[in-house]
């Protein structure tokens, strides 16, 4: 125990004294969250939209008034043709268009249902989703008002179209992706580099000659990064909840537990990389190549996996971030419980055990 404590203390001192490591640990997530967060929140007030009122009747006026009353929109009422709307989107002068068909109110009264078209510029998916969401809410609001005084239920059907990016690639909720990337990157790279550094500096020889067990070297190396990663996780969650107003819908405990699992997966992968590389550069390169690219490209965080060629879909299954991303989206955004994510959890656990077993087998007690 005393051995372990001395070891952990030394690791902590080394981490805290290395500005590069600290920057990586804490700078990266903050920058990512703030950058993404800025893009997410900046445009939401007074977004330029157009309302094309082909109906010009009581109902459309009422809805337009409500829209104008909202702080999110700066509304321009015009009568544009479809191709003019199209051009406005291309030029980027508007974010969204609401189109009322002719006979809107008449249809609503006589048929009990009427459509309203909502077209959004989805090249910025976050904004598109939020704006069209607001419009839909306003329309639903009005529908409720209208139905209150009458026995006939009226239904206004907003037909939402996402221009340019119908799948909303990039997903509106980047926080799970950033979490996966930061935790993986930090843990994999930091562990592998810190072990390989001992090899490079020659201090590993001293450790191997000492009575310290290899398992203890590994545990001692992992503990500081585990703790720092949890601090990191807390920072990301605090930022996303308080700076980005993104609430954690599910259980916080489950979220932290699953994240700890990912951290352990990442630590074992880092360890594995450290056993097969012999210089800090190659360890860093392997971590980058082995972690950063697959995490960004194949986890579903930036590009939807369903749209990929089959080969890539199959490969994406071995990317730990994919499973973590699914878990976090389910827990954090959809508020689902463990019963919905147990399969992904088991897969992550399996990966962790696999990495650990190989790493421990490769971790040489003797130099050859």
């Amino acid at each position: 125990m005393k051995q372990l404590l001395s070891f952990v203390k030394k690791e902590f001192l080394q981490v805290l004294r290395d500005p590069k490591t600290l920057l990586m640990l804490f700078g990266l997530p903050v920058v990512q969250i703030v950058l993404f967060g800025f893009a997410l929140t900046n445009e939401l007030k007074n977004a330029n939209i157009v309302v094309v009122d082909n109906a010009k009747d009581y109902a459309s006026e009422q809805i337009i008034n409500k829209i104008e009353g909202s702080k999110f929109f700066s509304v321009k009422k015009t009568l544009l043709t479809p191709s003019q709307i199209n051009n406005a989107f291309k030029e980027g002068t508007i974010k969204l268009a609401v189109v009322f068909p002719a006979n809107f109110y008449t249809d609503l009264l006589h048929l009990g249902t009427a459509p309203v078209q909502v077209i959004a510029d989805a090249s910025d998916p976050n904004t598109a989703v939020q704006l069209s969401g607001y419009i839909t809410t306003i329309v639903a609001d009005y529908q409720a008002d209208l139905s209150k005084g009458s026995s006939v239920p009226y239904s206004i059907i907003p037909q939402v179209r996402m221009l340019y990016n119908p799948d909303l690639k990039g997903a509106p909720n980047f926080v799970p992706g950033v979490m996966a990337m930061v935790l993986l990157l930090v843990c994999v790279m930091m562990t592998s580099v810190s072990i390989v550094r001992e090899k490079e500096l020659g201090t590993m020889e001293i450790l191997l000659v000492s009575p310290v067990k290899p398992l203890m070297v590994i545990v001692a190396k992992a503990i500081p990064y585990l703790i720092l990663s949890l601090v990191n996780l807390a920072a990301i969650l605090l930022l996303s909840v308080y700076a980005l107003d993104l609430p954690i819908k599910g259980s916080l405990f489950l979220l932290v537990a699953e994240s700890t699992l990912l951290i352990i997966t990442a630590l074992s992968l880092g360890l594995l990389i450290s056993t097969i590389t012999s210089s800090q550069q190659s360890a860093m390169f392997a971590s980058m190549l082995g972690m950063m690219l697959p995490t960004m490209l194949l986890s579903g965080y930036m590009f939807p996996i369903e749209n990929m060629p089959i080969v890539l879909q199959v490969i994406s299954n071995i990317v730990p971030a994919k499973w973590y991303y699914i878990i976090v989206k389910a827990v954090m955004l959809k508020g689902l419980g463990f019963s919905y994510v147990w399969k992904e959890t088991v897969i992550l656990m399996g990966m962790t055990i696999f990495f650990l077993v190989i790493a421990l087998r490769n971790f040489k007690i003797r130099l050859e």
Partner: protein, 248 residues
């Protein structure tokens, strides 16, 4: 020096594929002895030492260190030895005290022992004022001396020094050897490899390795007499001239 044998090898051999790095070496080292291992680069000194430390498994032969078998009981050996590698082996981003604390800690010293050792070592080296400075900022000679004292912080039976004075100026080397004599006086056996031939004169007994084999083993005086020359230098050149392996 006593008659107690602390290292004993019998035809100890290490092969890497076809290459025989260490070829059937046999020798005994006694308690409290300063045992020098000389040889050109690539002669097999470091490999031989690594086998004795448990860093490398011998291909064949026998060896015991501090009474424990290198094949079967490497963990027991590790508790009884200290080791200082060719590369400087302290953590440069830790302070002098933190290094002592770390190595003391992993060798299982109590906090009280570590505290006593820290005071003792810094006083011995005259580093009281630098104790809290990072090791990085010390001159090489001081680092090497500190490295040695840290290697024996847990009072091992034997300490292995792999070219400990490489790159250190002659004055510092002399001081370094004073520390070695100190440790030997306390009963710690010193096993040291070097390619500074003048250092061979400081050893009680010297082994000269050529191409993985032990070509000579005696006290410095004994070697000079046997080869009929005035210095160990000349003994070494006589033997090394026959070497076939080129230095790496």
């Amino acid at each position: 020096m006593s008659e107690e044998v602390v290292i004993k090898t019998n035809k100890l051999t290490k092969r890497f594929g076809d290459f025989v790095a260490v070829d059937e070496i046999t020798f005994d080292v006694h308690k409290g002895e300063i045992f020098g291992f000389l040889g050109a680069n690539g002669a097999g000194k470091t490999t031989a030492m690594r086998m004795l430390c448990g860093l490398s498994t011998p291909t064949s032969g026998e060896a015991t260190v501090a009474g424990f078998d290198v094949f079967k009981e490497p963990e027991e050996i590790k508790k009884n030895i200290g080791y200082m590698s060719q590369k400087f082996s302290l953590y440069e981003d830790l302070s002098v005290l933190e290094n002592i604390e770390f190595y003391g800690g992993i060798y299982g010293l109590t906090n009280k022992e570590i505290k006593e050792k820290s005071t003792e070592l810094t006083e011995k080296l005259g580093l009281q004022n630098e104790a809290k400075k990072l090791v990085r900022s010390l001159p090489l000679g001081w680092k090497q001396k500190l490295s040695f004292l840290v290697a024996i912080v847990h009072q091992p039976k034997i300490v292995f020094l792999d070219e400990p004075t490489g790159g250190v100026d002659p004055y510092m080397r002399r001081e370094f050897w004073d520390l070695i004599y100190d440790a030997a006086d306390k009963g710690i056996t010193i096993f040291v490899t070097t390619h500074y031939l003048d250092e061979a004169e400081y050893c009680n007994r010297v082994t000269i390795m050529v191409d993985g084999k032990i070509e000579a083993l005696d006290s410095p005086g004994g070697l000079r007499e046997k080869f009929g020359v005035a210095t160990i230098d000349e003994v070494f050149y006589k033997l090394a001239r026959e070497a076939k392996r080129s230095a790496d």
